[in-house]
Protein backbone atom coordinates (compact mmCIF):
# COMPACT_ATOMS: atom_id res chain seq x y z
CA UNK A 1 0.00 0.00 0.00
CA UNK A 2 3.08 2.26 0.19
CA UNK A 3 3.92 3.72 -3.24
CA UNK A 4 6.94 1.86 -4.56
CA UNK A 5 8.24 4.28 -7.18
CA UNK A 6 8.55 8.05 -7.77
CA UNK A 7 5.69 7.68 -10.22
CA UNK A 8 3.68 6.06 -7.46
CA UNK A 9 4.33 9.00 -5.13
CA UNK A 10 3.37 11.47 -7.86
CA UNK A 11 0.13 9.61 -8.43
CA UNK A 12 -0.58 9.47 -4.71
CA UNK A 13 0.06 13.22 -4.45
CA UNK A 14 -2.22 13.85 -7.44
CA UNK A 15 -4.93 11.74 -5.87
CA UNK A 16 -4.62 13.54 -2.55
CA UNK A 17 -4.89 16.89 -4.34
CA UNK A 18 -7.95 15.77 -6.28
CA UNK A 19 -9.43 14.55 -3.01
CA UNK A 20 -8.95 17.93 -1.33
CA UNK A 21 -10.31 19.94 -4.25
CA UNK A 22 -14.02 19.49 -3.38
CA UNK A 23 -13.35 21.06 0.03
CA UNK A 24 -12.28 24.26 -1.70
CA UNK A 25 -15.60 24.34 -3.54
CA UNK A 26 -17.35 23.38 -0.30
CA UNK A 27 -20.61 22.76 -2.12
CA UNK A 28 -23.04 20.16 -0.79
CA UNK A 29 -24.21 19.28 -4.24
CA UNK A 30 -20.65 18.52 -5.38
CA UNK A 31 -20.10 16.41 -2.27
CA UNK A 32 -23.30 14.50 -3.00
CA UNK A 33 -22.29 13.87 -6.57
CA UNK A 34 -18.90 12.57 -5.49
CA UNK A 35 -20.38 10.40 -2.75
CA UNK A 36 -22.64 8.78 -5.35
CA UNK A 37 -19.62 8.43 -7.66
CA UNK A 38 -17.83 6.57 -4.87
CA UNK A 39 -20.74 4.15 -4.49
CA UNK A 40 -20.83 3.53 -8.23
CA UNK A 41 -17.05 3.06 -8.29
CA UNK A 42 -17.48 0.15 -5.87
CA UNK A 43 -20.34 -1.25 -7.96
CA UNK A 44 -18.45 -0.90 -11.24
CA UNK A 45 -15.23 -2.43 -9.90
CA UNK A 46 -17.05 -5.38 -8.36
CA UNK A 47 -19.00 -6.02 -11.57
CA UNK A 48 -15.79 -5.73 -13.56
CA UNK A 49 -14.38 -8.60 -11.50
CA UNK A 50 -17.14 -10.79 -12.96
CA UNK A 51 -17.63 -9.59 -16.52
CA UNK A 52 -14.21 -8.11 -17.26
CA UNK A 53 -11.82 -10.42 -15.47
CA UNK A 54 -13.67 -13.73 -15.22
CA UNK A 55 -15.70 -13.46 -18.41
CA UNK A 56 -19.02 -14.14 -16.66
CA UNK A 57 -21.51 -11.78 -18.20
CA UNK A 58 -23.84 -10.94 -15.34
CA UNK A 59 -26.57 -8.42 -16.13
CA UNK A 60 -28.12 -8.39 -12.68
CA UNK A 61 -25.64 -6.60 -10.47
CA UNK A 62 -28.30 -4.31 -9.02
CA UNK A 63 -29.91 -7.37 -7.39
CA UNK A 64 -26.93 -7.75 -5.04
CA UNK A 65 -26.78 -3.99 -4.57
CA UNK A 66 -30.45 -3.88 -3.59
CA UNK A 67 -30.13 -6.90 -1.34
CA UNK A 68 -27.32 -5.21 0.56
CA UNK A 69 -29.34 -2.00 0.86
CA UNK A 70 -32.49 -3.68 2.19
CA UNK A 71 -30.55 -6.06 4.44
CA UNK A 72 -28.70 -3.18 6.05
CA UNK A 73 -31.84 -1.07 6.43
CA UNK A 74 -33.80 -3.89 8.05
CA UNK A 75 -30.92 -5.00 10.26
CA UNK A 76 -30.56 -1.52 11.75
CA UNK A 77 -34.27 -0.63 11.87
CA UNK A 78 -35.86 -3.93 12.90
CA UNK A 79 -33.00 -5.72 14.64
CA UNK A 80 -31.37 -2.67 16.11
CA UNK A 81 -27.90 -3.60 14.96
CA UNK A 82 -25.29 -0.82 14.90
CA UNK A 83 -24.32 0.39 11.44
CA UNK A 84 -20.85 -1.23 11.24
CA UNK A 85 -22.32 -4.67 11.99
CA UNK A 86 -25.19 -4.20 9.55
CA UNK A 87 -22.74 -2.94 6.92
CA UNK A 88 -20.52 -6.02 7.22
CA UNK A 89 -23.47 -8.40 7.43
CA UNK A 90 -25.16 -6.99 4.35
CA UNK A 91 -21.95 -7.58 2.41
CA UNK A 92 -21.77 -11.15 3.67
CA UNK A 93 -25.46 -11.79 2.97
CA UNK A 94 -25.11 -10.50 -0.57
CA UNK A 95 -22.01 -12.68 -0.98
CA UNK A 96 -23.86 -15.78 0.19
CA UNK A 97 -26.71 -14.95 -2.15
CA UNK A 98 -24.26 -14.31 -5.00
CA UNK A 99 -22.51 -17.63 -4.47
CA UNK A 100 -25.85 -19.45 -4.21
CA UNK A 101 -27.00 -17.84 -7.45
CA UNK A 102 -23.63 -18.35 -9.06
CA UNK A 103 -23.72 -22.08 -8.55
CA UNK A 104 -26.63 -22.97 -10.85
CA UNK A 105 -25.86 -20.07 -13.16
CA UNK A 106 -22.45 -21.54 -13.94
CA UNK A 107 -23.96 -24.32 -15.94
CA UNK A 108 -25.14 -21.66 -18.37
CA UNK A 109 -22.96 -20.30 -21.10
CA UNK A 110 -22.47 -16.67 -22.12
CA UNK A 111 -25.78 -15.37 -23.41
CA UNK A 112 -27.86 -17.70 -21.22
CA UNK A 113 -26.04 -16.54 -18.12
CA UNK A 114 -26.78 -12.97 -19.16
CA UNK A 115 -30.50 -13.74 -19.52
CA UNK A 116 -30.64 -15.70 -16.25
CA UNK A 117 -28.99 -12.91 -14.25
CA UNK A 118 -31.33 -10.39 -15.85
CA UNK A 119 -34.24 -12.55 -14.73
CA UNK A 120 -32.77 -12.76 -11.25
CA UNK A 121 -32.60 -8.97 -11.09
CA UNK A 122 -36.28 -8.71 -11.95
CA UNK A 123 -37.21 -11.42 -9.43
CA UNK A 124 -35.39 -9.59 -6.66
CA UNK A 125 -37.03 -6.31 -7.60
CA UNK A 126 -40.48 -7.93 -7.65
CA UNK A 127 -39.88 -9.49 -4.23
CA UNK A 128 -38.83 -6.13 -2.84
CA UNK A 129 -41.96 -4.56 -4.35
CA UNK A 130 -44.42 -7.19 -3.17
CA UNK A 131 -43.20 -8.23 0.27
CA UNK A 132 -45.03 -5.25 1.72
CA UNK A 133 -44.77 -6.35 5.32
CA UNK A 134 -41.01 -6.62 5.27
CA UNK A 135 -39.81 -4.17 2.66
CA UNK A 136 -42.52 -1.54 2.70
CA UNK A 137 -43.48 -2.50 -0.85
CA UNK A 138 -43.37 0.03 -3.68
CA UNK A 139 -43.31 2.87 -1.17
CA UNK A 140 -39.92 1.75 0.09
CA UNK A 141 -38.27 2.09 3.48
CA UNK A 142 -37.91 5.57 4.95
CA UNK A 143 -36.07 6.66 8.06
CA UNK A 144 -32.96 4.52 7.78
CA UNK A 145 -30.54 5.76 10.47
CA UNK A 146 -27.44 7.62 9.41
CA UNK A 147 -24.21 5.71 9.98
CA UNK A 148 -22.89 5.90 13.50
CA UNK A 149 -19.25 4.83 13.52
CA UNK A 150 -18.80 5.11 17.31
CA UNK A 151 -16.27 7.93 17.06
CA UNK A 152 -17.85 9.82 14.19
CA UNK A 153 -21.40 10.13 13.05
CA UNK A 154 -21.84 10.67 9.32
CA UNK A 155 -24.45 13.29 8.55
CA UNK A 156 -23.27 15.94 6.10
CA UNK A 157 -22.73 15.17 2.40
CA UNK A 158 -19.10 16.09 3.08
CA UNK A 159 -18.76 13.21 5.53
CA UNK A 160 -20.32 10.83 3.06
CA UNK A 161 -18.00 12.04 0.33
CA UNK A 162 -14.97 11.17 2.45
CA UNK A 163 -16.44 7.84 3.55
CA UNK A 164 -17.45 6.86 0.00
CA UNK A 165 -13.98 7.63 -1.31
CA UNK A 166 -12.43 5.55 1.48
CA UNK A 167 -14.80 2.71 0.64
CA UNK A 168 -13.90 2.96 -3.06
CA UNK A 169 -10.17 3.12 -2.27
CA UNK A 170 -10.42 0.12 0.04
CA UNK A 171 -12.34 -1.85 -2.59
CA UNK A 172 -9.79 -0.91 -5.21
CA UNK A 173 -6.85 -2.02 -3.07
CA UNK A 174 -8.46 -5.33 -2.13
CA UNK A 175 -9.52 -6.13 -5.70
CA UNK A 176 -6.18 -5.04 -7.15
CA UNK A 177 -4.40 -7.32 -4.68
CA UNK A 178 -6.67 -10.23 -5.52
CA UNK A 179 -6.22 -9.67 -9.24
CA UNK A 180 -2.43 -9.54 -9.07
CA UNK A 181 -2.39 -12.60 -6.83
CA UNK A 182 -3.11 -16.28 -7.22
CA UNK A 183 -6.95 -16.18 -7.26
CA UNK A 184 -7.11 -13.27 -9.69
CA UNK A 185 -4.74 -14.91 -12.12
CA UNK A 186 -6.89 -18.03 -12.02
CA UNK A 187 -9.95 -15.93 -12.92
CA UNK A 188 -8.18 -14.36 -15.89
CA UNK A 189 -7.03 -17.83 -16.95
CA UNK A 190 -10.65 -19.02 -16.88
CA UNK A 191 -11.64 -16.04 -19.02
CA UNK A 192 -8.88 -16.68 -21.54
CA UNK A 193 -9.31 -20.46 -21.87
CA UNK A 194 -11.43 -22.47 -19.49
CA UNK A 195 -10.21 -25.86 -20.71
CA UNK A 196 -6.57 -24.87 -20.38
CA UNK A 197 -7.24 -23.44 -16.90
CA UNK A 198 -8.75 -26.73 -15.78
CA UNK A 199 -5.90 -28.66 -17.36
CA UNK A 200 -3.34 -26.71 -15.36
CA UNK A 201 -5.08 -27.41 -12.08
CA UNK A 202 -7.69 -24.68 -11.61
CA UNK A 203 -10.95 -25.75 -9.99
CA UNK A 204 -13.00 -23.70 -12.44
CA UNK A 205 -16.38 -24.14 -10.74
CA UNK A 206 -15.07 -23.15 -7.31
CA UNK A 207 -13.40 -20.04 -8.69
CA UNK A 208 -16.47 -18.94 -10.62
CA UNK A 209 -18.69 -19.35 -7.57
CA UNK A 210 -16.18 -17.45 -5.44
CA UNK A 211 -15.98 -14.69 -8.05
CA UNK A 212 -19.76 -14.31 -7.87
CA UNK A 213 -19.55 -14.22 -4.09
CA UNK A 214 -16.79 -11.61 -3.91
CA UNK A 215 -18.43 -9.47 -6.56
CA UNK A 216 -21.76 -9.60 -4.71
CA UNK A 217 -20.01 -8.88 -1.40
CA UNK A 218 -18.81 -5.48 -2.58
CA UNK A 219 -22.14 -4.73 -4.26
CA UNK A 220 -23.79 -5.48 -0.91
CA UNK A 221 -21.45 -3.10 0.89
CA UNK A 222 -22.23 -0.41 -1.67
CA UNK A 223 -25.95 -1.05 -1.12
CA UNK A 224 -25.63 -0.70 2.63
CA UNK A 225 -23.70 2.55 2.27
CA UNK A 226 -26.28 3.86 -0.19
CA UNK A 227 -29.19 3.04 2.13
CA UNK A 228 -27.68 4.78 5.12
CA UNK A 229 -26.62 7.76 3.06
CA UNK A 230 -29.99 8.50 1.46
CA UNK A 231 -31.87 7.16 4.55
CA UNK A 232 -34.62 6.09 2.16
CA UNK A 233 -34.68 3.23 -0.34
CA UNK A 234 -37.29 1.85 -2.73
CA UNK A 235 -37.28 -1.02 -5.25
CA UNK A 236 -36.96 1.45 -8.14
CA UNK A 237 -33.30 2.03 -7.29
CA UNK A 238 -32.40 -1.59 -7.92
CA UNK A 239 -34.04 -2.46 -11.22
CA UNK A 240 -32.58 -3.55 -14.52
CA UNK A 241 -31.88 0.02 -15.61
CA UNK A 242 -29.55 0.32 -12.62
CA UNK A 243 -27.73 -2.85 -13.68
CA UNK A 244 -27.34 -1.46 -17.16
CA UNK A 245 -26.01 1.82 -15.80
CA UNK A 246 -23.30 -0.11 -13.94
CA UNK A 247 -22.49 -2.12 -17.07
CA UNK A 248 -22.17 1.14 -19.01
CA UNK A 249 -19.67 2.39 -16.41
CA UNK A 250 -17.62 -0.81 -16.60
CA UNK A 251 -17.63 -0.70 -20.41
CA UNK A 252 -16.70 2.97 -20.50
CA UNK A 253 -13.70 2.30 -18.27
CA UNK A 254 -12.83 -0.89 -20.09
CA UNK A 255 -13.62 -4.54 -19.40
CA UNK A 256 -10.77 -5.98 -17.40
CA UNK A 257 -9.45 -2.54 -16.45
CA UNK A 258 -9.96 -1.98 -12.73
CA UNK A 259 -8.77 1.62 -12.66
CA UNK A 260 -10.93 2.30 -15.71
CA UNK A 261 -14.01 1.40 -13.66
CA UNK A 262 -13.21 4.32 -11.33
CA UNK A 263 -13.25 6.69 -14.29
CA UNK A 264 -16.29 5.10 -15.85
CA UNK A 265 -18.27 5.48 -12.64
CA UNK A 266 -17.11 9.04 -12.07
CA UNK A 267 -17.85 10.18 -15.63
CA UNK A 268 -21.25 8.55 -15.95
CA UNK A 269 -22.27 9.91 -12.54
CA UNK A 270 -21.19 13.44 -13.31
CA UNK A 271 -22.05 13.91 -16.97
CA UNK A 272 -25.84 13.57 -16.62
CA UNK A 273 -25.62 15.89 -13.60
CA UNK A 274 -23.63 18.55 -15.39
CA UNK A 275 -26.24 18.69 -18.11
CA UNK A 276 -29.07 19.04 -15.65
CA UNK A 277 -31.53 19.74 -18.45
CA UNK A 278 -30.80 16.24 -19.70
CA UNK A 279 -31.85 14.58 -16.43
CA UNK A 280 -34.81 12.91 -18.07
CA UNK A 281 -32.48 11.35 -20.60
CA UNK A 282 -30.23 9.66 -18.03
CA UNK A 283 -31.05 6.17 -19.20
CA UNK A 284 -30.74 7.22 -22.80
CA UNK A 285 -27.25 8.53 -22.08
CA UNK A 286 -26.25 5.25 -20.46
CA UNK A 287 -27.63 3.26 -23.37
CA UNK A 288 -25.92 5.47 -25.94
CA UNK A 289 -22.64 5.28 -24.03
CA UNK A 290 -22.84 1.51 -24.00
CA UNK A 291 -23.53 1.26 -27.72
CA UNK A 292 -20.89 3.83 -28.65
CA UNK A 293 -18.22 2.29 -26.47
CA UNK A 294 -18.80 -1.22 -27.75
CA UNK A 295 -18.80 0.06 -31.30
CA UNK A 296 -15.95 2.57 -31.17
CA UNK A 297 -13.74 1.86 -28.14
CA UNK A 298 -14.21 -1.80 -27.21
CA UNK A 299 -11.40 -1.62 -24.64
CA UNK A 300 -12.80 1.47 -22.92
CA UNK A 301 -11.67 5.08 -22.77
CA UNK A 302 -8.20 4.13 -21.59
CA UNK A 303 -7.35 2.59 -24.94
CA UNK A 304 -7.83 4.93 -27.89
CA UNK A 305 -6.01 2.75 -30.40
CA UNK A 306 -9.15 1.38 -32.06
CA UNK A 307 -10.40 4.92 -32.65
CA UNK A 308 -6.99 6.06 -33.92
CA UNK A 309 -6.90 3.13 -36.33
CA UNK A 310 -10.38 4.01 -37.54
CA UNK A 311 -9.36 7.64 -38.02
CA UNK A 312 -6.31 6.64 -40.05
CA UNK A 313 -8.42 4.35 -42.14
CA UNK A 314 -10.95 7.11 -42.73
CA UNK A 315 -8.22 9.58 -43.67
CA UNK A 316 -6.58 7.20 -46.06
CA UNK A 317 -9.60 7.62 -48.23
CA UNK A 318 -13.11 6.34 -48.65
CA UNK A 319 -13.87 3.07 -50.30
CA UNK A 320 -10.91 1.27 -48.74
CA UNK A 321 -12.15 0.50 -45.25
CA UNK A 322 -14.63 -2.22 -44.53
CA UNK A 323 -16.14 -0.82 -41.36
CA UNK A 324 -17.98 2.36 -42.19
CA UNK A 325 -19.25 1.37 -45.58
CA UNK A 326 -22.68 -0.17 -44.85
CA UNK A 327 -25.78 0.58 -46.88
Amino acid sequence: MIPASPGGWARAAGLALAGVLPFLLDNNYVFHLLAMSGIYMVLAMSLNLLIGFTGLFSLGHAAFYGLGAYASALLTQDCGLPFPAAFALSGLLAAAFGAAVGFPALRLRAIFLAIATMGLNEIVRLFLTNLDGLTGGPAGLPGIPEPDLWLVRLGQPRDFYVAAMLLAAGTYLVLANILSGRPGRALIAIRDDETAARSIGVDVTAYKVAAFGVSAFFAGLAGSFFAHYLTYISPDSFGLSESFAIIAMVSLGGLGNLRGSLWGAFLLCSIPEIFRSLQDFRELIYGLTLVLIIRVLPDGIADWRPLAARWRQWRSGPGLGGEGGGP
Partner: protein, 258 residues
Protein backbone atom coordinates in the same frame (compact mmCIF):
# COMPACT_ATOMS: atom_id res chain seq x y z
CA UNK B 1 8.11 -50.01 -11.36
CA UNK B 2 5.02 -48.87 -13.19
CA UNK B 3 4.07 -45.25 -12.72
CA UNK B 4 0.82 -45.55 -14.64
CA UNK B 5 -1.25 -48.59 -15.47
CA UNK B 6 -4.21 -48.61 -17.80
CA UNK B 7 -6.38 -51.70 -17.88
CA UNK B 8 -9.27 -52.55 -20.16
CA UNK B 9 -9.95 -48.98 -21.21
CA UNK B 10 -12.98 -48.81 -23.52
CA UNK B 11 -14.75 -45.82 -24.98
CA UNK B 12 -17.47 -45.41 -27.59
CA UNK B 13 -18.84 -42.30 -29.21
CA UNK B 14 -22.41 -43.06 -30.16
CA UNK B 15 -22.20 -46.46 -31.80
CA UNK B 16 -18.55 -46.07 -32.74
CA UNK B 17 -16.04 -47.91 -30.57
CA UNK B 18 -13.01 -45.60 -30.32
CA UNK B 19 -11.14 -47.78 -27.82
CA UNK B 20 -11.61 -51.47 -27.02
CA UNK B 21 -10.05 -52.94 -23.91
CA UNK B 22 -6.74 -51.15 -24.14
CA UNK B 23 -4.01 -51.99 -21.62
CA UNK B 24 -0.88 -49.93 -21.26
CA UNK B 25 1.72 -49.72 -18.51
CA UNK B 26 4.14 -46.80 -18.35
CA UNK B 27 7.31 -47.30 -16.39
CA UNK B 28 8.70 -44.63 -14.14
CA UNK B 29 11.38 -42.58 -15.88
CA UNK B 30 10.71 -43.66 -19.45
CA UNK B 31 9.71 -41.74 -22.53
CA UNK B 32 6.71 -43.54 -23.97
CA UNK B 33 5.57 -42.92 -27.51
CA UNK B 34 1.96 -43.44 -28.53
CA UNK B 35 1.25 -43.77 -32.23
CA UNK B 36 -1.37 -45.03 -34.59
CA UNK B 37 -2.98 -44.13 -37.90
CA UNK B 38 -5.68 -41.45 -37.92
CA UNK B 39 -8.72 -42.64 -36.03
CA UNK B 40 -6.74 -45.27 -34.14
CA UNK B 41 -7.89 -43.86 -30.81
CA UNK B 42 -4.65 -42.38 -29.52
CA UNK B 43 -6.11 -38.94 -28.89
CA UNK B 44 -9.09 -40.54 -27.15
CA UNK B 45 -6.78 -42.53 -24.89
CA UNK B 46 -4.73 -39.41 -24.21
CA UNK B 47 -7.84 -37.42 -23.28
CA UNK B 48 -9.04 -40.19 -20.99
CA UNK B 49 -5.71 -40.20 -19.17
CA UNK B 50 -5.74 -36.42 -18.80
CA UNK B 51 -9.34 -36.49 -17.63
CA UNK B 52 -10.90 -34.58 -20.50
CA UNK B 53 -12.94 -37.65 -21.53
CA UNK B 54 -14.61 -40.19 -19.31
CA UNK B 55 -13.89 -43.85 -20.08
CA UNK B 56 -16.83 -46.25 -20.43
CA UNK B 57 -14.90 -49.02 -18.71
CA UNK B 58 -11.49 -49.88 -17.36
CA UNK B 59 -9.10 -48.53 -14.78
CA UNK B 60 -6.23 -46.06 -14.70
CA UNK B 61 -3.96 -46.51 -11.73
CA UNK B 62 -1.36 -43.82 -11.16
CA UNK B 63 1.17 -44.44 -8.39
CA UNK B 64 -1.24 -47.00 -7.02
CA UNK B 65 -4.22 -44.63 -7.05
CA UNK B 66 -7.31 -44.94 -9.24
CA UNK B 67 -7.61 -41.79 -11.33
CA UNK B 68 -10.58 -42.33 -13.63
CA UNK B 69 -12.99 -40.66 -11.19
CA UNK B 70 -10.60 -37.84 -10.32
CA UNK B 71 -11.38 -34.41 -11.86
CA UNK B 72 -8.97 -32.95 -14.41
CA UNK B 73 -7.73 -30.22 -12.09
CA UNK B 74 -7.13 -32.69 -9.25
CA UNK B 75 -5.10 -34.95 -11.53
CA UNK B 76 -2.76 -32.00 -12.05
CA UNK B 77 -2.00 -31.79 -8.34
CA UNK B 78 -1.37 -35.55 -8.37
CA UNK B 79 1.17 -35.04 -11.12
CA UNK B 80 -0.61 -35.83 -14.41
CA UNK B 81 -0.32 -32.81 -16.71
CA UNK B 82 -0.97 -32.40 -20.42
CA UNK B 83 -0.23 -29.98 -23.23
CA UNK B 84 -2.46 -29.41 -26.25
CA UNK B 85 -1.92 -30.18 -29.91
CA UNK B 86 -3.40 -26.80 -30.88
CA UNK B 87 -1.58 -24.88 -28.09
CA UNK B 88 -3.86 -23.48 -25.43
CA UNK B 89 -2.12 -20.61 -23.68
CA UNK B 90 -3.77 -17.79 -21.75
CA UNK B 91 -3.56 -15.36 -24.63
CA UNK B 92 -3.95 -12.01 -22.86
CA UNK B 93 -1.55 -12.95 -20.06
CA UNK B 94 2.17 -12.34 -20.28
CA UNK B 95 4.53 -15.25 -20.81
CA UNK B 96 5.57 -14.91 -17.18
CA UNK B 97 1.97 -15.06 -15.93
CA UNK B 98 1.33 -18.13 -18.05
CA UNK B 99 4.15 -19.94 -16.28
CA UNK B 100 2.97 -18.58 -12.94
CA UNK B 101 -0.37 -20.26 -13.68
CA UNK B 102 1.52 -23.52 -13.80
CA UNK B 103 2.36 -23.07 -10.11
CA UNK B 104 -1.33 -22.73 -9.24
CA UNK B 105 -1.64 -26.26 -7.90
CA UNK B 106 1.66 -26.02 -5.99
CA UNK B 107 0.74 -22.83 -4.12
CA UNK B 108 -1.93 -22.03 -1.58
CA UNK B 109 -2.66 -18.28 -1.38
CA UNK B 110 -6.44 -17.91 -1.13
CA UNK B 111 -8.80 -14.97 -1.56
CA UNK B 112 -8.32 -13.42 1.84
CA UNK B 113 -4.57 -13.87 1.98
CA UNK B 114 -4.26 -12.32 -1.49
CA UNK B 115 -6.72 -9.53 -0.75
CA UNK B 116 -4.58 -8.30 2.12
CA UNK B 117 -1.32 -9.44 0.54
CA UNK B 118 -0.27 -11.18 3.76
CA UNK B 119 3.39 -11.83 4.38
CA UNK B 120 2.94 -15.47 3.45
CA UNK B 121 1.10 -14.62 0.20
CA UNK B 122 3.75 -12.06 -0.73
CA UNK B 123 6.52 -14.56 0.01
CA UNK B 124 4.82 -17.19 -2.11
CA UNK B 125 4.40 -14.68 -4.93
CA UNK B 126 8.10 -13.83 -4.91
CA UNK B 127 9.01 -17.51 -4.93
CA UNK B 128 6.66 -18.22 -7.86
CA UNK B 129 8.08 -15.30 -9.83
CA UNK B 130 11.65 -16.48 -9.32
CA UNK B 131 10.88 -20.08 -10.24
CA UNK B 132 8.86 -18.98 -13.28
CA UNK B 133 11.72 -16.86 -14.56
CA UNK B 134 14.05 -19.80 -14.09
CA UNK B 135 11.74 -21.97 -16.23
CA UNK B 136 11.44 -19.28 -18.90
CA UNK B 137 15.23 -19.09 -19.04
CA UNK B 138 15.49 -22.86 -19.23
CA UNK B 139 13.27 -22.86 -22.32
CA UNK B 140 15.12 -19.86 -23.83
CA UNK B 141 12.11 -17.53 -23.75
CA UNK B 142 13.04 -15.28 -20.81
CA UNK B 143 13.36 -12.19 -23.09
CA UNK B 144 9.63 -12.46 -23.81
CA UNK B 145 8.58 -12.58 -20.17
CA UNK B 146 6.42 -9.44 -20.37
CA UNK B 147 5.04 -10.14 -23.84
CA UNK B 148 1.39 -11.23 -24.15
CA UNK B 149 1.37 -14.95 -24.93
CA UNK B 150 -0.73 -14.47 -28.06
CA UNK B 151 2.01 -12.26 -29.55
CA UNK B 152 4.73 -14.90 -29.27
CA UNK B 153 5.91 -16.80 -32.34
CA UNK B 154 4.49 -20.26 -32.87
CA UNK B 155 7.66 -22.02 -31.76
CA UNK B 156 7.91 -19.91 -28.63
CA UNK B 157 4.28 -20.56 -27.81
CA UNK B 158 5.04 -24.29 -27.89
CA UNK B 159 7.98 -23.73 -25.53
CA UNK B 160 5.85 -21.60 -23.24
CA UNK B 161 3.22 -24.31 -23.03
CA UNK B 162 5.87 -26.82 -21.97
CA UNK B 163 7.27 -24.33 -19.42
CA UNK B 164 3.79 -23.86 -17.99
CA UNK B 165 3.26 -27.62 -17.75
CA UNK B 166 6.66 -28.12 -16.08
CA UNK B 167 5.81 -25.42 -13.54
CA UNK B 168 3.13 -27.70 -12.14
CA UNK B 169 5.87 -30.19 -11.20
CA UNK B 170 4.45 -33.13 -13.17
CA UNK B 171 5.31 -36.75 -12.51
CA UNK B 172 3.77 -37.77 -15.83
CA UNK B 173 4.04 -35.14 -18.55
CA UNK B 174 1.72 -35.80 -21.46
CA UNK B 175 2.66 -34.07 -24.71
CA UNK B 176 0.01 -33.99 -27.44
CA UNK B 177 1.77 -33.73 -30.82
CA UNK B 178 4.47 -31.39 -29.51
CA UNK B 179 6.23 -31.25 -32.88
CA UNK B 180 3.17 -30.17 -34.86
CA UNK B 181 4.05 -27.07 -36.86
CA UNK B 182 7.73 -27.04 -35.89
CA UNK B 183 10.50 -27.00 -38.51
CA UNK B 184 13.29 -29.58 -38.52
CA UNK B 185 15.73 -27.61 -36.35
CA UNK B 186 13.00 -26.87 -33.82
CA UNK B 187 12.03 -30.54 -33.92
CA UNK B 188 15.57 -31.60 -33.05
CA UNK B 189 15.64 -29.09 -30.21
CA UNK B 190 12.37 -30.47 -28.94
CA UNK B 191 13.82 -33.98 -28.97
CA UNK B 192 16.73 -32.85 -26.79
CA UNK B 193 14.33 -31.00 -24.53
CA UNK B 194 12.13 -34.05 -23.98
CA UNK B 195 15.20 -36.11 -23.08
CA UNK B 196 16.34 -33.43 -20.64
CA UNK B 197 12.90 -33.41 -19.04
CA UNK B 198 13.06 -37.20 -18.65
CA UNK B 199 16.57 -36.94 -17.18
CA UNK B 200 15.24 -34.51 -14.59
CA UNK B 201 13.03 -37.32 -13.31
CA UNK B 202 9.76 -36.74 -15.16
CA UNK B 203 8.10 -39.60 -17.01
CA UNK B 204 6.93 -38.50 -20.45
CA UNK B 205 4.13 -39.72 -22.72
CA UNK B 206 4.27 -38.40 -26.29
CA UNK B 207 1.53 -38.66 -28.89
CA UNK B 208 3.05 -37.78 -32.23
CA UNK B 209 2.41 -37.99 -35.94
CA UNK B 210 6.05 -37.45 -36.83
CA UNK B 211 7.31 -41.04 -36.89
CA UNK B 212 10.99 -40.11 -37.10
CA UNK B 213 10.86 -37.89 -34.06
CA UNK B 214 8.78 -40.33 -32.08
CA UNK B 215 11.01 -43.30 -32.83
CA UNK B 216 14.11 -41.26 -32.02
CA UNK B 217 12.88 -39.99 -28.70
CA UNK B 218 10.90 -42.88 -27.24
CA UNK B 219 12.27 -45.59 -25.00
CA UNK B 220 9.24 -47.67 -25.78
CA UNK B 221 6.38 -47.24 -28.22
CA UNK B 222 2.74 -48.29 -28.01
CA UNK B 223 0.92 -48.68 -31.30
CA UNK B 224 -2.85 -48.39 -31.58
CA UNK B 225 -5.00 -49.29 -34.55
CA UNK B 226 -8.79 -49.43 -34.76
CA UNK B 227 -9.05 -48.73 -31.04
CA UNK B 228 -6.87 -51.64 -30.02
CA UNK B 229 -3.26 -52.04 -29.04
CA UNK B 230 -1.44 -53.94 -31.79
CA UNK B 231 2.17 -53.64 -30.67
CA UNK B 232 4.35 -52.39 -27.84
CA UNK B 233 8.10 -52.35 -27.28
CA UNK B 234 11.34 -50.59 -28.11
CA UNK B 235 11.23 -48.53 -31.34
CA UNK B 236 13.36 -50.93 -33.41
CA UNK B 237 11.17 -53.87 -32.44
CA UNK B 238 7.94 -52.04 -33.17
CA UNK B 239 9.19 -50.80 -36.52
CA UNK B 240 9.90 -54.39 -37.54
CA UNK B 241 6.52 -55.65 -36.36
CA UNK B 242 4.49 -57.10 -39.21
CA UNK B 243 1.13 -55.80 -38.06
CA UNK B 244 2.52 -52.30 -37.62
CA UNK B 245 3.97 -52.35 -41.12
CA UNK B 246 0.67 -53.60 -42.43
CA UNK B 247 -1.27 -50.83 -40.70
CA UNK B 248 1.07 -48.09 -41.77
CA UNK B 249 2.10 -49.17 -45.23
CA UNK B 250 -1.24 -50.55 -46.22
CA UNK B 251 -2.38 -53.83 -47.62
CA UNK B 252 -5.41 -55.81 -46.56
CA UNK B 253 -7.82 -54.32 -44.05
CA UNK B 254 -5.21 -51.87 -42.80
CA UNK B 255 -5.31 -49.89 -45.99
CA UNK B 256 -8.85 -48.74 -45.52
CA UNK B 257 -8.05 -47.43 -42.07
CA UNK B 258 -4.90 -45.55 -43.08
Amino acid sequence: MNLAELRGISKSFGGLAALREVDMAIEKGEIRGLIGPNGAGKTTLFNIMAGNYRADAGSFRFEGRELLDVAVNDRVSLGVVRTFQNIRLFGTMTALDNVRMGFHCRTAAGWLASAFNTRRAAGEKAWVTGESERLLAELDILPYRNEAAKNLSYGNQRRLEIARALASRPRLLMLDEPAAGLNEAEGRQLLERIRAIRDSGVTVLVVEHDMNLLMAVSDRVTVLAHGQKIAEGPPAEVQADERVILEYLGGGAGHAAG
